[in-house]
């Protein structure tokens, strides 16, 4: 096995261009498991941990541009106030050790339907910044996931960063696992309220071949909030509307039966999670006034 250790981003991109088969490694919390379980025997590995730019974040054109190598722990500590949904999801990832090593870049790289960072990124319309020696391109998060553990990244590309708007309103994330910590999601859900644009974003995890949005649920609840002037009135959303929102989220899912749960349960649980998350977020909005 070959081992590359680029010191700069430019060097990393060159190496990736020259050795497209090289598997990048950030925190290694997915890559090392794959290797240890003998699911993967990469011919070459490229360690991205020396590259300072990857571990930095900055303000960028009204958004936050967060390097692919920023760990969950740092996200929680440094950006928890601006990205509450992603921070909530980050808190549910693995254990403190995993959060100290694991990165959102790695979560995107693996592109597991169960990746916990994905629902909040979907709910907030994040953008993935991919780079290669031939340039940089921005891929909308909902176009990034192309299949189970597949994404839009080309062989010669690396994930440089993801871009996301700082929250303008409440966000929530919730997941179901059959253990009270350190558990892969049976299903998960994120919601983001954007009072500025009067919009609602959603993200569904672990209930389809890829992480999903629930556009019909979003439109439905946006209409309810507008039609009843709720953004201004800051009144409660009716129980029936919340239930319908949950049902529409469940309908957007494409779950299967597997060792972690049944498709029927996943749909059921998603409806509950969506209703609860929307309730919590909306109550946050009302109380924040």
């Amino acid at each position: 096995m070959e081992f590359f250790q680029p010191a700069t981003w430019a060097e990393a991109l060159q190496m990736k261009a020259a050795h497209p088969e090289a598997v990048p490694i950030a925190g290694g919390t997915d890559v090392m498991v794959e290797i240890n379980l003998d699911h993967q025997r990469p011919a070459a590995i490229m360690d991205l941990n020396r590259i300072r730019e990857l571990a930095e974040w900055e303000r960028y054109d009204g958004m936050l541009r967060i390097g692919a190598g920023v760990t969950y722990t740092r996200l929680i500590d440094e950006l928890g106030d601006r990205l509450p949904g992603l921070a909530m999801a980050s808190r549910t990832v693995g254990s403190p050790q995993i959060r100290n090593r694991g990165t959102v870049g790695g979560n995107l790289g693996t592109a597991s339907p169960a990746g916990d960072a994905h629902p909040p990124l979907l709910a907030t319309d994040a953008i993935v910044e991919l780079a290669s020696t031939s340039g940089t391109r921005h891929v909308a998060i909902h176009e990034f996931f192309t299949g189970p553990k597949r994404n839009a990244m080309r062989k010669d590309e690396l994930i440089a960063a993801f871009l996301v708007h700082p929250a303008t309103g409440p966000q929530q994330f919730s997941k179901v696992g059959t253990r009270n910590a350190m558990v892969i999601a049976v299903c998960s859900f994120a919601v983001s309220l954007d009072p500025t644009h009067r919009s609602v974003g959603t993200g569904i995890g672990s209930a389809g071949p890829t992480p999903l949005r629930a556009p019909r649920a979003e439109h439905f609840i946006e209409d309810v909030l507008l039609d009843e002037n709720l953004w201004n009135r800051k009144a409660e959303v009716s129980a029936s509307a919340l239930k319908r929102f949950g049902d529409l989220v469940a309908r957007a899912a494409k779950p299967i039966d597997d060792v972690r749960g049944t498709a029927a349960y996943r749909r059921h649980a998603l409806a509950v999670l969506a209703r609860r998350c929307m309730t919590w977020a909306w109550n946050d909005y009302r109380l924040a006034a």
Binding site: N36, L37, D38, G80, D81, P84, A87, M88, R91, T92, P170, Q171, Q172, F173, S174, K175, V176, G177, T178, R179, N180, A181, M182, V183, I184, A185, V186, S188, V259, R260, G261, T262, A264, Y265, H268, A269, V272, L273, R276, T279, W280, N283, D284, L287, A288
Partner: protein, 766 residues
């Protein structure tokens, strides 16, 4: 260091720091690595095996198949039915077919992939009920029933005022010891082999290895290596014979260490079970009869199935007085993963059933479930369903009374009230970690109190301590007193396995107490001393403790004889704090002075009272020598909409007879309850068509610290007149009734009739 004092484990700091040498850490210069080729089919005929390509791979020093087994290619704890390497047929997914030794573990693994085995795939028998039918293929020469236990007690056709029936299903639990199966075999150059191994019983390994290797036992010497947990998983051979075969073949040391995935197929599991029960009682709540059909799936090989089904049958009615019983216990062969010993050993499966039945009965009678249990509780002198009259303290009602009277945890702010949404607000960006950890779903942020309902449940269980049914239960201890660096020092040498249970301090405490010496060293276990039996059946403190006590007493007697003859001292001498003292405690002579160069070395065997085989037609016999009891109360919060569970508290009362090392006893009560909790709400090996679907810790979930609540403990020391110091075995009872209490609490919270464990979210919601 005396018995009754809390003594810390000597290996604790090393284990906490990561310095402790486990069997998987063993290494020696020039060693090879072994890898195992395993069957990808649960049931298939082996047509041919081609080793050519594998043998030609880089670094490979040996490729072995069944043809290379030097001795008898069969072994087993109770029935010799399992090949070391499959020859004609494979009977379970992951069965060992061939071995490779190479210079590097990766070379061994790659070569293993190149071994060509042609299989004729057969339709596996995966349903234990189907295995019983005459249509099913016979998986072993004697048919598919490994053992049937019939218990016929009292009247044949009793009638009762109130009858409740139920069917229960128990999933397959894994012992999941953190240390994988591993060891190092070193050939001695003279045809023999030294095996360094983490096992629960050195001598049974030695005996089986001698047969398989075709060697006399003295040519197969075993030394205990650091054990990373056992819980029953290390009672059967795993890689022992394989490593020895490769070492003898290559003339080089060979190490084998399983991966986590391989470990899941490399050891037996807890038997899954289907239990059909009928209880009859009078209107006043007194049990009239229990009828039960217990079917355990033993998987492909017998392992200890015949003893497990005996327990499941003998204790089928629970620790209750029951004048009439009709129990049919069966364990069958299938092509599922082999099952055998696991903490609780047959008493866990039936406890779920009899305790669910007692709750059902209480409901049918309109009676409080704890009251019903106390009314029927076994007492000293009662006859059990096996006809055995139970002696010694039998505090079933007392244990229940104690857990009942313990204070309940404050009903959590978020418990028992649905829809208190605003109270549950989580500050933005905070996730409210602190509060979340106390709720169902834990850190997953699944509920802020919505739909959380609290339930409380009770259960009581019991089991036998030590071996049963006439099996010769004994242990051997050698205790040696000498003077080292001017101080008396005692060495205790046994073959017993320190599996984490704390036997290491128990042995030292007993020797220190009996001999009156402060410096006691427990030597590493090996086969240079006689057998101690297994570290299982909660028996070692009793049996090996008894042997250490006997040998220590013998040493003490000799010291006192020496003192008397040397000093012509009066009688009534004792040893205290490294000195011989007289009747009033004045020092007569320092031990170091008295002994000089002399060495006092005594070996003793200890045997508890004998047991007897169950009558094959009636199941009546004095089959067990001691019984241990525990009761649990569980307080559980259930998110009834999502089916998620938070066990808020476990409370337990257990009679340990005498707590030799109280802090270790507490550890057993907590750890055992955690294992019980695991089976109740998450731990299950999922097997489909004979194939394990979750052979990793990603999806075989073990409880974390956020799943395991604090345990309120009431430890009784009632003193058994038959045992050393009055002690009782401690390790298993905590695993028996903890889970059933949790399930009872979930039933109380949800109103659902839960008939299967582990309880899954969809069982509570759909």
């Amino acid at each position: 260091m005396r018995i009754g004092e809390s003594v810390l484990r000597p290996d604790g700091p090393a284990k906490a720091r990561g310095d402790f040498v486990y069997s998987s850490d063993l290494r020696v210069d020039g060693m090879l690595w072994g890898a195992t080729v395993r069957s990808p089919h649960p049931y298939a005929r082996i047509v041919s095996i081609d080793t050519m390509e594998a043998g030609a791979m880089p670094g490979v020093k040996a490729v072995l198949t069944h043809q290379d087994v030097p001795g008898r290619n069969l072994y087993g704890l109770e029935i010799e039915d399992q090949p070391v390497l499959a020859s004609e047929v494979v009977r379970y997914w992951g069965e060992a077919v061939a071995l490779v030794a190479a210079e590097h573990p990766e070379q061994a693994r790659r070569a293993a992939e190149k071994l060509r085995v042609e299989y004729e795939v057969l339709q596996p028998v995966t349903d234990p009920d189907y295995a019983l039918t005459s249509d099913a293929p016979r998986l072993h020469p004697d048919g598919n029933i490994t053992r049937r236990v019939k218990i016929r007690h009292g009247e044949a056709d009793p009638t009762a005022d109130i009858v409740v029936k139920g069917e229960y299903e128990i999933g397959m639990q894994d012992q999941a010891p953190l240390g994988p199966e591993s060891g190092l075999a070193i050939p001695d150059g003279e045809g023999g082999v030294d095996l360094h191994i983490a096992t629960q019983w050195l001598h049974i390994d030695q005996k089986q290895l001698a047969g398989v290797l075709g060697l006399p036992p003295e040519k197969v010497r075993l030394t205990m290596a650091g054990i990373g947990g056992a819980f029953g998983a290390r009672e059967d051979l795993s890689m022992q014979a394989h490593a020895c075969m490769l070492a003898l073949k290559t003339g080089r040391p060979v190490k084998i260490s399983y991966s986590r995935t391989e470990s899941f197929v490399g050891h037996v599991h807890r038997h899954p079970g289907r239990l059909i029960y009928e209880h009859g009682a009078n209107r006043d709540g007194r049990l009239v009869y229990v009828k039960a059909r217990i079917l355990l799936d033993g998987g492909a090989y017998a392992s200890s199935s015949t003893a497990v089904i005996a327990n499941a049958s003998c204790f089928a009615a629970g620790p209750y007085r029951c004048p009439n019983a009709n129990i049919d216990g069966m364990v069958v062969y299938t092509n599922n993963p082999p099952c055998g010993a696991m903490r609780g050993f047959g008493s866990v499966q039936n406890c779920y059933a009899h305790e669910a039945q007692m709750d059902k009965l209480a409901e049918a009678l309109g009676m409080d479930p704890v009251e019903l249990r106390m009314r029927n509780a076994l007492e000293t002198g009662d006859e059990m369903i096996t006809g055995q009259v139970i002696d010694g303290p039998v505090p079933v009602a007392e244990l229940l009374r104690r857990v009942l009277s313990m204070p309940l945890p404050a009903s959590g702010e978020f418990s028992g009230r649905a829809g208190r949404v605003l109270d549950g607000l989580v500050p933005q960006g905070e996730g409210g970690d602190v509060e979340l950890t106390s709720r169902p779903g834990g850190v997953s942020n699944a509920t802020h109190g919505e739909s959380v309902v609290r339930g409380v449940g009770y259960a009581v269980g019991f089991k036998n301590i030590g071996y049963s049914e006439g099996f010769d239960d004994y242990s051997t201890a050698r205790v040696r007193l000498s003077v080292a660096d001017g101080r008396p020092r005692v060495e205790v040498h046994t073959a017993s396995a320190e599996v984490g249970q704390g036997l290491v301090t128990v042995q030292a405490q007993i020797a220190a107490t009996e001999i009156g010496v402060t410096d006691v060293v427990v030597l590493n276990a090996d086969t240079r001393v006689g057998s101690s039996g297994s570290s299982s059946a909660s028996r070692q403190t009793y049996i090996t403790g008894g042997a250490v006590k006997a040998a220590s007493e013998a040493v003490r007697e000799r010291v006192l004889e020496l003192a008397q003859s040397e000093l012509r001292a009066a009688s009534g001498l004792r040893i205290e704090n490294d000195a011989v003292v007289d009747a009033v405690g004045n020092q007569v002579i320092a031990l170091a002075t008295l002994l000089g160069d002399a060495v006092i070395d005594e070996t003793r065997e200890f045997r508890p009272r004998r047991t007897h085989h169950l009558d094959p037609e009636t199941g009546q016999a004095n089959a067990h020598m001691q019984y241990a009891f525990a009761a649990h109360r569980a307080v559980v919060d259930v998110d009834t909409e999502l089916g998620l569970i938070k066990v808020v508290e476990l409370a337990t009362a257990q009679d340990v007879g005498k707590a030799i090392n109280p802090i270790a006893v507490q550890g057993q009560l907590e750890g055992g309850a955690a294992q019980g909790l695991g089976l109740a709400v998450m731990e299950e090996i999922q097997v489909k068509d004979g194939v394990i679907r979750n052979a990793s810790f990603t999806d075989y979930l073990l409880p974390t610290i956020l799943d395991m609540p604090p345990v309120r403990m009431d430890i009784l020391e009632l003193g058994d007149p038959n045992s050393p110091y009055g002690l009782k075995g401690v390790g298993e009872p905590p695993t028996i009734s903890s889970g059933p209490a949790i399930v009872a609490a979930i039933r109380a919270a949800t109103g659902r009739e839960i008939t299967r464990v582990p309880v899954r979210p969809h069982d509570l919601t759909l």
